[in-house]
Symmetry: C2
Subunit: 330 residues, 2 copies
């Protein structure tokens, strides 16, 4: 195994977020599943886009947010994802490169426009996501450079990749290349609805292909069809996969070979928008973990990164996260 050029390389749906505020009545009237991620088609995207309030466009995408977080912490990150050669694609590419992430995937030159996620933030800071996958459907194994995968300590994959038709081929090619190079593979379950769509395949992945699993409480309950968090933790332990379980204000639980560690959530003056909380927890954890720190310290850095991103609107850090690493943990 050669020296790694990257701490982590992420593969995911390359998406520009359109963030706006909406109350529960708006969600109900327009049939939007609160707190979840719903895939929408062109017609629904146009209708909803016209109905929702004035907003802001910010680069997003789950694994892309995580890579931007790792770079913001001072880590070395790369990203693979598909945009179209259009204005929003240029926005996405610029933002992720400006964050310090290596991003070289060729944009699609035909087909659907760059993906966007219409995110409605509720007064209680919950976010409801409506994703138009656009150009993401063009991501395929040809976009995975095996030497780039081999150059990263960890290949990080988002469960959402199961939605576009050929992205899972890219996912499996990358996972195999990583393992051949003696590297590790990590998966985020992304969303409980997503887990329900692909439970059998995700269970197979977790027990045979994944070294580090990220999930929140709803996702891990959905994966194992467990009745309680304790039952889900037991099921996780049986797989032998290092698993990081986030529980919002209740903190996080790391299930490792040597036992279970629980860390509290980092304090936040005011929770403004929970978009990106899981993505940034993964960023903090993976940055510290790939730099040889303990599971507990890695989880604490995850909690700090998540706390920053939920204190403002949008799913990427607004300050250099490296500045939040105190002397005690740094």
């Amino acid at each position: 195994m050669t020296r790694a050029d990257f701490d982590v390389i992420g593969i995911g749906n390359a998406i520009v977020d359109v963030l706006s505020h909406a109350d529960d009545a708006f969600l109900a009237t327009n049939g939007i599943e609160k707190g979840g991620m719903t895939l929408i088609d062109t017609a629904r995207a146009e209708t909803l886009y016209a109905l929702m309030g004035a907003g802001r466009e910010v680069s997003g995408g789950s694994a892309a947010n995580t890579m931007a977080g790792i770079a913001s912490l001072g880590g070395r990150a790369a990203y693979i994802g598909k945009v179209r050669d259009d204005q929003l694609g240029a926005v996405f590419a610029r933002d992720i490169r400006a964050s310090g992430v290596r991003f070289t995937t060729n944009p699609a030159t035909s087909g659907a426009p760059t993906a966007r996620c219409l995110i409605l933030v509720s007064p209680d800071a919950q976010r409801s996501m409506n994703t138009f996958l656009g150009a993401c459907v063009d991501l395929g194994p040809e976009d995975v450079d095996e030497s780039e995968i081999a150059a990263a300590k960890i290949t990080y994959l988002e469960g959402y990749l199961w939605d576009p038709p050929r992205a899972k081929e890219a996912f499996l090619k990358a996972a195999a290349a990583a393992h051949r190079a003696g590297r590790q593979v990590s998966l985020s379950l992304s969303d409980a609805f997503c887990v329900n769509r692909y439970r059998k395949e995700f269970l197979d992945l977790v027990t045979s292909h994944i070294d580090i699993l990220f999930a929140n409480e709803a996702e891990i309950l959905a994966l194992f069809e467990a009745a309680s968090f304790e039952d889900a933790v037991k099921a996780v332990r049986a797989t032998g996969t290092l698993t990081v379980l986030t529980r919002g204000a209740a903190g996080a639980t790391v299930v490792g070979r040597d036992g279970v560690i629980t860390v509290p959530a980092a304090s936040v003056a005011k929770v403004v928008d929970t978009t990106g909380a899981g993505d940034l927890f993964a960023a903090g954890f993976l940055y510290w973990y790939t730099n040889g720190r303990s599971l507990e310290d890695s989880a604490r850095i995850g909690a700090i990164a998540a706390a920053e991103v939920i204190s403002h609107v949008g799913a990427r850090p607004e300050v250099a996260l490296a500045g939040l690493l105190g002397p005690k943990l740094g």
Copy 2:
């Protein structure tokens, strides 16, 4: 004079802002005039866009921000400005309509893309703007519907309209149509550098075509080449034009026919980004003024609207400003 459908109709450069943070060293290294608005060409826009940090895209444009502010306060506003039929143009059109502003200008179907303003926000909350005018150069008198102008109590024009070649023709057509309908015409001086570019024309406008003038301290000093604020106020009084002068943390001065009124700035917990401060001051003033309130109360509402917009990144309100009008002033 018939009943007005709108309190204010604004005409301006329709721009999408790209907001990012940068320190003074970045501004110096890249030759950016701190605190000002610089026009940039395509090549410079591409260079700067690639160099600046990850950001967010938010609809902007000086007069457009003002109209969005008036609608947010509960007023009736319309807007005329030129975007291209591209993705950023769709973002601009959606945002201003979602704000409650009537916007029916046809987008350009050829030529330059939708305008963007690369805004660098300094640690001291100052903003430096680099504007690529794009499709704004296609705005002309054919975009001004005289019946729409006649339906607004005030036609509000931004000084920046002197930059694109044919927009001033649209400006003058609108001003003439407003006066023929017995309405008022208002001008914002926009920027001290802009005033220096067009001083003679602006002086002629202020003395003969404008009923309500908005300017900050630097702009009014530039217009009259005055040595002190007091000298500038004297020069303003000699024109007989109702003038609203904003002075940042020092509050605002209204120069009317009956004398000079000074109101304090509204308090802000933390000034985050001064982008849009003048635009929103004008929004608050014009909304209250067109609804029959006193000059002093109108200036106080201006100060409240400006205080909201400088408390966060971006030049448009993040909360419904109508909710900030207390029972005392409401």
